[in-house]
Symmetry: C2
Subunit: 130 residues, 2 copies
Amino acid sequence: MKTNLEGITNKLKDNNIRLSHQRLKVLEYLDRHRIHPTVEQIYHGLNEEIPTLSKTTIYNTLNKLIEAGLVKVITIEDNEARYDINTDFHGHFKCRTCEKGLDGFRIYTRDMYFSGICPRCSEQEKCKDS
Amino acid sequence: MKTNLEGITNKLKDNNIRLSHQRLKVLEYLDRHRIHPTVEQIYHGLNEEIPTLSKTTIYNTLNKLIEAGLVKVITIEDNEARYDINTDFHGHFKCRTCEKGLDGFRIYTRDMYFSGICPRCSEQEKCKDS
DNA sequence: TGCTTACTTGTAATCATTTCAATTTTATTA
DNA sequence: TAATAAAATTGAAATGATTACAAGTAAGCA
Ligand SMILES: [Mn+2]
Ligand SMILES: [Mn+2]
Ligand SMILES: [Zn+2]
Ligand SMILES: [Zn+2]
């Protein structure tokens, strides 16, 4: 549940991702606001502290972090992505009435998405190795 | 696996959804093309048969069918929705390499989304009943 | 057949996300 | 510390999926 920000910055170094002020602030925001925030929420949340912050930077940062496996994108909303610093395997729930994400619920729909590599592409990878 | 189109049209009647030419064609397309098509694919697939068909109608139709529980939307793509006439609970897989949805795979990411009603809203529902 | 209501259509609007080029910052080296 | 190259930030503009809207059309019913 608790993310080690120091550990994350080390991972950034490992992935050759520069430790810019903006990136660290976005990470810190995700760590302190465990509500699967949208880009809009991150933007407004950091606006006071960094008035010059651009939404483009937030998008760039999040995409970098996703690429490095440090953040996960949640597509439970139909029109807006949400972001999660908790990359452990866990489900997400959205209430049909209040539209909040909460614990303890009556479930009506379940969706499971997997991403990986199919047998055909696995086979082609083997060929490359030899 | 096999969908009974006759059964579906009966469900449409039950839900007071009119059996328009366009709606039946969209349903037929979803039934015959079990590839979780996008709106774009449905549009081009039906274009020859119904040259006047509008994308807006496809969106309207799909939203109506989703509302009635006859179709499910799949948000595994980051930028474009896909649609499934199979409403049974089942997972979806996307290959990272060829980007196709297939069977038999090595899994790297798993995502579970639930939708339902939270305890708070459940409680309020009870109050309405009495 | 005629009536009412809901559906279809094309265009325009919306809005999350990406592209782009100029400026700034980071990390490195002297 | 200063110089440098590479990468990041920024804001404006572009993109593109989806929705809103208003006028024309078709479905269902008597
Ligand atoms: Mn989560
Ligand atoms: Mn499916
Ligand atoms: Zn609720
Ligand atoms: Zn593949």
